[in-house]
Symmetry: C2
């Protein structure tokens, strides 16, 4: 007897990225697809030692139920770290989550009604679209210019927005960063409007030449929900992130959290707190910034070397991704099998568009996982693939990301 699934279930679809990740588990594939941190980036020794110490000194706490909001000293650590970035954060405005993805789900639970207008960058993070979609929003795209997404809150399609979702730092998938001037424009535009600013910041610490501008949340107290994670700086497998926001929103999210899965693992919270208190990040952050910078440099050099002239990209100043634009008429999805035949994987750009028609000529490359040598090999293959396709000459202004 077949069971009836909820209508909501139609909103749950498999992520093309996670499907691709399964495909590329074949030996010999060089993946430029997923945003998996480089294996060498994990601080294994520090985490092993911290875990042993947690079991030696606080095993009962690590194995017992704990508060849905997260353990108090970890909430305080996050608040202190946000205060250093200019946000007047208190511990009771912080909720510990099982990774940023859960923060996005809690945002959807607590802030989105069926039909709520949610403004997103174009293109935007696929995982946010997946998290929000089951709550029934109407997505509306924001246009970009060189400074980032434009605060067009008076546009007819944007006027009734309930929420704006932005990744100001090294946006996934484009790598773009919102300039300080554009942040100020956003803050002015949002002030005195009942619109929640959801500021997703997984990559902010992965800057290469200098830190990005201060979070928008610093300029919009009481109106900002800021999402952070330890996935990119420590380990994604631990599943630890946080949400900061107005105390009444965080309290409601904690209630939603009780319904969703009670709490984040007491063990992983204590483990991460232990390495944070030991100031592991003081050494870890410079190390991984240097690592990802060298991999970005390798990819930029390889792109210069191997790509046909018709392919365009911008150099990201941090994060994990480079966004490629093939000439108009090229189809990055159709070309993917040719790339996979050369044992190289990437993510076609169409997955990252919320509304409107997605251009078919874009793709996302990650320099986070592969070594510089692998990156050069992979980009050489992609250069071959993209050169051999029939492409029309690039006309300025045709490419609209």
């Amino acid at each position: 007897m077949a069971l009836t699934l909820s209508q909501r279930s139609a909103q749950y679809t498999t992520s093309p990225i996670r499907d691709l990740l399964k495909l590329i588990e074949q030996p010999g594939i060089i993946s430029l697809a997923g945003g998996l941190p480089a294996a060498g980036s994990f601080p294994v020794d520090a985490l092993r030692a911290a875990c042993a110490e947690v079991f030696d000194t606080q095993a009962q706490g690590a194995l017992q139920y704990g508060p849905s909001e997260g353990i108090a000293p970890l909430r305080e650590w996050v608040a202190a770290q946000l205060r250093e970035q200019g946000i007047a954060a208190q511990a009771d405005e912080v909720l510990i989550t099982s990774g940023s993805q859960q923060g996005l789900d809690l945002v959807g639970r607590v802030l989105i009604d069926p039909g709520s207008t949610v403004l997103v960058e174009r293109p935007t993070y696929l995982g946010a679209l997946q998290a929000f979609a089951p709550y029934g929003p109407c997505f509306a795209d924001l246009d970009d210019d060189a400074q980032g997404a434009l605060p067009t809150l008076n546009a007819p399609a944007h006027r009734d927005a309930r929420m704006v979702y932005l990744q100001p730092n090294f946006r996934n998938p484009t790598g773009q960063t919102l300039t300080a001037a554009r942040r100020a424009q956003w803050a002015r535009a949002l002030q005195d409007r009942p619109i929640a600013l959801v500021e997703d910041n997984p990559y902010g610490e992965l800057w290469f030449d200098g830190p990005p501008p201060a979070p928008l949340a610093a300029q919009l107290p009481g109106q900002s929900i800021l999402l952070g994670t330890f996935s990119k700086v420590l380990s994604p497998g631990l599943r630890l992130g946080y949400v900061h926001g107005p105390q009444e929103v965080i309290a409601k999210m904690a209630q939603a959290r009780q319904a969703a899965d009670l709490q984040t693992s007491s063990l992983t919270q204590r483990l991460v707190l232990k390495v944070l208190e030991g100031r592991l990040l003081d050494a870890q952050l410079p190390r991984i910034r240097a690592l990802y910078r060298s991999q970005r440099d390798a990819m930029l050099a390889a792109l210069e070397r191997h790509m046909p002239e018709t392919v365009r990209w911008e150099a990201p100043q941090g994060g994990m991704f480079i966004w490629l634009s093939l000439p108009e008429g090229a189809d990055a999805t159709a070309l993917l099998p040719l790339a996979l035949a050369r044992k190289v994987a990437y993510v076609p750009g169409t997955a990252f568009y919320a509304a409107g028609t997605a251009p078919r000529n874009t793709l996302r490359l990650s320099y986070a996982t592969a070594t510089p040598e692998q990156i050069d090999t992979a980009i050489a293959h992609l250069g071959d693939v993209f050169s051999q396709t029939q492409v029309r000459p690039l006309t300025e202004g045709v490419l609209n990301l």
Copy 2:
């Protein structure tokens, strides 16, 4: 500028139990309220050793992203364990969750539409009501007799049921177990109806004199969703559970999982798999069964000793809870402050009723957390409190749980 919360947010309310747990963190309070496993029940040494081994032999896997469905060998372990209980389970019918509460949320996401009729025992598990409520079900209560909930699927209020939620073993809050005969009746009643049976089994391994009857899922292949957890047998702080069900339902839940929080911690999955493969449960289960049996015995003896004659209860054959019925007219919620003044906490029964009017004269006692000595002290105080209240004499048949 106040933000607009979703209408769904009104469904997220704080759990009276978790609120009570905060209250009773005061020193000196003996808690018979929460279902917290006894601290002495945690296999600390085995988990500490397994954790060290995971870091020594598979640190990269433990710290990296993994599949949303859970790691393959843990899914296989669960499937094998279910096969031992008569369920023809395969690994791809198993989803690893961050505790059973997440399994309940995934059930809600994938099986409940607004207005779907969901049948529940009366009283039933508060956490399931909290998990399902945001998805908009209409709850309908099932009546009990001495064998457990009655399969009244032809009753007008039950005829259009989408789903039945049962806790066949040592139900939270009543401690009652569905007899083998009643399970067979349920299986016959559900067969050939498009109704999902959601069988929640957190306490099944905590039996005292003999194992409970086989899961209903063994008799209803293709129609059953079975929820299990390692919280009661290993540690709730690790947050590890599982769902078994038809492959197409599990696949949809895995997609929902991607949207919700991607996956369960790679570290905690490997840690638990390691102790399971080391056959820790062979020693752990007899140990905790004996522990909880001794605490149940202490509570039953204390109840006999200290309770006025007007108070009634049944002896549970496993699990963590004893359900008390005060005389009609007594109000367990109103009496709670008197108990707290004596430094004893319990949970009033009203929280566990989904529909209809909740009787005010019931309460749940947990023997899981306190020692036998503490249990005797606490029950003596409760006996005083319940004796001093004005109670009408108990009339047979008035108490309807």
